[in-house]
């Protein structure tokens, strides 16, 4: 190849690299006045990994602890759509939601402030049901059977109680915090007008008589209308164990389900949770929901207003017409939201869910997950990584620092030892840095902390090819050959070793890429890009520099190496 073409090649490579690294206009989500909007921004097309810019990485998998899931892969595909919608609405720039393997979803949310809230939103099943409370006192009739089943379970519970209740202590403490607010909440829950409430309360209050007796019945007391019961907050873990047991479940009245309330209520000094006996068949589910919006009302606090589509509205109207004067529970993910209100008249396409004493953000989050739809399967966190933004910035600063020091050391060693040739190598090295970064940008690779370390490391390894060639040229010069011949021979003899060593490292990097996850993958990519760039610069670019030098130098001039 003639010198002209060589120079043209190098210039073209530099131009291509500069173009790949030049800030370009991309469309992405950006934060504007607390909200996220799609907008065009100019930025250098090198993406920083979560460990460098801060953010949350969550792997979700199907939670089959409660019910077996037949086709996990298919369930995950459906869940993926819901999770993606939720994440999109949650609003972060450049989120990643993808399926990995057969039964997992990776969610990456760069730079978010409240990771716990994010995982809650993603994980929430958001399965909404409207169920009519039982008015036949079916539970009271079933109590002897349930007690008998619970009695069999009681010794088991007593021995494991210490272990099982411990994880709930923080939960209880949290609910204790909310309790003051929940006590104030209104029991009115959907759009039916409920003016008789005050009267029923006073009338039914006399009916709150503690039932004593069996292990199950001693935990519950009759509430203010048929199908409503109360459980002391401290007894909730025990009760949940009973509810989860299959023999206890078998003793339940047929066609009915028992559901706990989502929030606790204060009566005097103590906190209670509602327990409701509901018709198993819901009169309505959230699948007909078209919209949900957070709202506040002076009398009811925060609430979520929802709207059903026409078909759902028609059904809802028919069903509620059949159940006038009944109580209707709004059940979200198996928990009754608020107190079931009385159905005053047929309800159409609009309704509302009161949020108890929770703040507006919870209402926003609930509205978000309702809009995105229910998860087809429950998901649980398989692993999570949360990096604060300040930590990421520290990592970048420190690696830059280390990189610059490494570069200075290497430049010093090369220039002092090889003089003029060392300078050529350093110029080659700076092109190497440019090419590597450009390759990373071109493949849209993500820079991670191990990736940066790999980059610093590969600068050290990149000089190896130069050193091999220079040492070889020195040997040839020692044998009394001319500069031109020595350079030729030096490159020719060093080539097999350079290729062999780089290929074996590249193979290792490829294996790492295949089997590595996240940060390790970033390392493998930088290593691969570094190997290719170092081969190009040491074999081709530095060689061209020598050719230029040879055409300008006189025959007798000695090579400074």
């Amino acid at each position: 190849m003639s010198l002209k073409y060589r120079i043209a090649c190098i210039v073209a490579l530099i131009a291509a690299s500069a173009w790949a690294l030049f800030p370009r206009t991309v469309v992405e989500r950006v934060k504007r006045n607390d909200g996220y909007v799609l907008d065009t921004v100019r930025r250098v097309p090198l993406r920083k990994g979560l460990d460098l810019q801060g953010g949350t990485h969550v792997t979700l998998e199907v939670d089959d602890s409660k019910a077996a899931v037949a086709n996990k892969s298919e369930a995950i595909d459906r869940a993926l759509k819901v999770v993606r919608t939720r994440v999109d609405q949650f609003g972060v720039s450049e989120p990643v939601v993808q399926k990995v393997g057969n039964d997992r979803i990776i969610v990456e949310l760069p730079g978010i402030d409240d990771p716990q809230r994010a995982t809650d939103i993603i994980q929430k099943s958001a399965f909404l049901e409207f169920q009519i409370t039982d008015k036949t006192n079916a539970l009271d009739r079933a109590i002897p059977r349930i007690d008998a089943a619970a009695k069999a379970l009681a010794p088991v519970l007593a021995s494991t109680k210490g272990g099982t209740t411990a994880p709930d202590t923080t939960k209880n403490a949290l609910q204790g915090l909310f309790a003051n607010d929940t006590a104030k909440k209104s029991p009115k829950d959907t759009a039916g007008k409920d003016t008789t409430k005050g009267k029923t309360d006073t009338k039914k209050d006399t009916a709150v008589t503690p039932q004593t007796g069996g292990p199950f019945s001693k935990l519950i007391q009759q509430g203010q209308f048929p199908g409503e019961y109360y459980v002391a907050q401290s007894d909730v873990p025990t009760l949940e164990r009973y509810l989860a047991d299959s023999t206890v479940k078998a003793a339940f009245p047929p066609g009915k389900v028992l559901r706990l309330a989502a929030d606790s209520t204060q009566f005097g000094e103590r906190y209670f949770r509602g327990l409701y006996v509901l018709d198993e068949r819901p009169i309505m589910t959230g699948e007909y929901l078209t919209d949900a919006r957070p709202s506040t009302s002076p009398t009811e606090g925060t609430l979520v207003e929802f709207q059903l589509n026409n078909e759902g509205g028609r059904r809802f109207r028919n069903e509620t017409a059949k159940h006038i004067k009944d109580y209707m529970a709004i059940v979200l993910d198996g928990r009754v939201m608020g107190r079931p209100p009385v159905i005053q008249g047929a309800i159409g396409t609009r309704g509302q869910i009161t949020m108890g004493g929770q703040d507006l953000q919870s209402a926003q989050d609930l509205a978000l997950v309702l809009r995105a739809g229910a998860l087809p399967v429950p998901l649980k966190v398989a692993d999570s990584r949360i990096i604060g933004p300040s930590l990421g910035k520290d990592s970048i600063d420190q690696s830059m620092h280390a990189g610059i020091i490494a570069l200075v050391l290497i430049v010093l060693i090369m220039v002092v030892y090889y003089r003029f040739s060392g300078v050529l190598a350093v110029v080659g090295l700076s092109l190497y840095v440019l090419y590597t970064l450009a390759a990373l940008a071109g493949f849209d690779a993500v820079l991670t902390l191990p990736g940066l370390a790999g980059f610093v490391l590969s600068i050290g390894i990149a000089v190896d090819a130069n050193v091999l060639i220079f040492e070889r040229i020195r040997e040839e010069l020692d044998r009394g050959k001319s500069s031109r011949l020595s350079i030729d021979e030096g490159f020719r003899h060093a080539l097999p070793a350079i290729i062999d060593s780089n290929v074996s490292t590249a193979l290792t990097a490829a294996v790492l890429y295949q089997f590595g996850t996240g940060p390790v993958r970033g390392f493998a990519v930088t290593l691969l890009a570094g190997i290719v760039a170092s081969m190009i610069t040491s074999i081709f670019v530095v060689r061209t520099f020598y050719t230029i030098w040879l055409t300008r130098a006189s025959e007798q001039q000695t090579l400074s190496i």
């Binding site: 460990d51 792997t59 998998e61 939670d63 990771p115 716990q116 994880p167 923080t170 398989a382 692993d383 999570s384 990584r385 949360i386 990096i387 604060g388 300040s390 990592s395 420190q398 690696s399 620092h401 280390a402 990189g403 490494a406 050391l409 290497i410 060693i413 090369m414 002092v416 030892y417 902390l449 191990p450 370390a453 790999g454 610093v456 490391l457 050290g460 390894i461 000089v463 190896d464 050193v467 091999l468 040492e471 040997e475 003899h493 070793a497 062999d500 060593s501 074996s504 490292t505 193979l507 290792t508 294996v511 790492l512 295949q514 089997f515 590595g516 996850t517 940060p519 390790v520 390392f523």
Partner: protein, 329 residues
């Protein structure tokens, strides 16, 4: 022209027995303690929770300990991390990891609430949380093992294609030696085996192989020249001829690694330690493991003289010292 180690004629191979003794002692010490105390896996492989805590004021480590003990985390491991206001906290106990199978982030939430209760939400921040469920952990462990074995096989195949099998086998044995010394080093330095450390280990293997290839490439070339030299002498000469290159390359690589070790922060430090040790063990094994093994293979399975020396003038008798065993006498 500055020259270092130019035209040297050190008899490197002569010291192979001493070198072997030293490295064997190191490996026995490290691997022995590994077998007795077990591998110190990071939470990525065992499952568990890692949290980095930043305090406003330097906290009393005992206070953290007591708060965690009170919350039921008796086997949580608390370590200072860089400065006196930063700590890391590891919860890797079997009971806690098992609890994470219901949701990996549970333990982290509980620990966070304990700590904010103890120190107040403004005085402690948790900039890093890593939580890995038990199933993910065991899968990663399997993947890492597959990655190491596969990279082994792939490089062996490549060497078999580029060199003849004797060289390939010697290079692989040298690389195997590096795995053992690096594992011993990890144990003796009390470093955790994490994903990044496995990546560093694989890079070390690549680097060490690289170094062996450079010397073997010179051996291959010197053998083709068909001088009347024994393999022993050819090996020694090749090592000496590549010595300036080795010194310079290792110096620059070590300079880059030292910069990482000293300036790139706590998170990357274990990675840098493994790399730095890898440069040492890689250089050592290329000279003292790969070369003697090649001699040993050559003695066990001698090749035809013609294959060694393409020029017909060479004879089998020219190999005066065919094995390292005779060489040391």
């Amino acid at each position: 022209m500055i020259r270092i180690f130019h035209n040297t004629t050190y008899d490197f191979i002569r010291w192979w027995k001493v070198a072997l003794g030293l490295t064997a002692a190191f490996i026995v010490l490290g691997i022995g303690s590994l077998l007795i105390k077990g591998v110190n896996y990071s939470i990525e492989f065992t499952g568990g929770t890692l949290m980095q805590l930043h305090f406003k004021q330097p906290p009393d480590a005992g206070q953290i300990r007591r708060a965690l003990d009170g919350g039921g985390f008796r086997d949580a491991e608390i370590q200072q991390f860089g400065s006196d206001t930063a700590y890391t906290l590891r919860v890797q106990g079997t009971a806690e990891v098992a609890a994470q199978s219901a949701g990996a982030d549970r333990i982290a939430q509980r620990v966070a609430s304990i700590l904010t209760k103890q120190f107040g939400p403004n005085d402690v921040s948790i900039p890093r949380i890593e939580a890995v469920g038990p199933r993910v952990g065991s899968e990663l462990r399997r993947d890492a093992l597959i990655a190491i074995l596969l990279s082994f096989v792939v490089t062996l195949v490549y060497l078999a294609i580029r060199f003849e099998w004797r060289f390939g086998l010697a290079a692989i044995i040298a690389t195997g030696h590096d795995i053992f010394t690096t594992l011993a080093f990890l144990k003796l330095m009390h470093l955790e085996v994490s994903l990044t450390v496995v990546a560093a280990l694989l890079t070390v293997l690549g680097y060490s192989l690289n170094d062996t290839i450079i010397i073997f490439d010179r051996v291959r070339e010197n053998l083709r020249k068909g001088r009347k030299e024994s393999l022993y002498d050819v090996l020694n000469r090749s090592i000496n001829e590549t010595l300036p290159r080795s010194i310079l390359t290792h110096t620059t690589a070590a300079a880059a690694t030292l910069a990482l070790l000293l300036f790139a922060g706590e998170v990357i430090r274990p990675f840098a330690w493994v790399m730095l040790f890898g440069i040492v063990t890689g250089t050592f094994s290329s000279i003292y493991i790969a070369s003697p093994v090649l001699l040993w293979i050559e003695r066990k399975y001698p090749r035809a003289a013609a294959a060694w020396k393409p020029s017909s003038t060479a004879t089998a008798t020219s190999r005066t010292r065919p094995s390292p065993a005779t060489a040391t006498r």
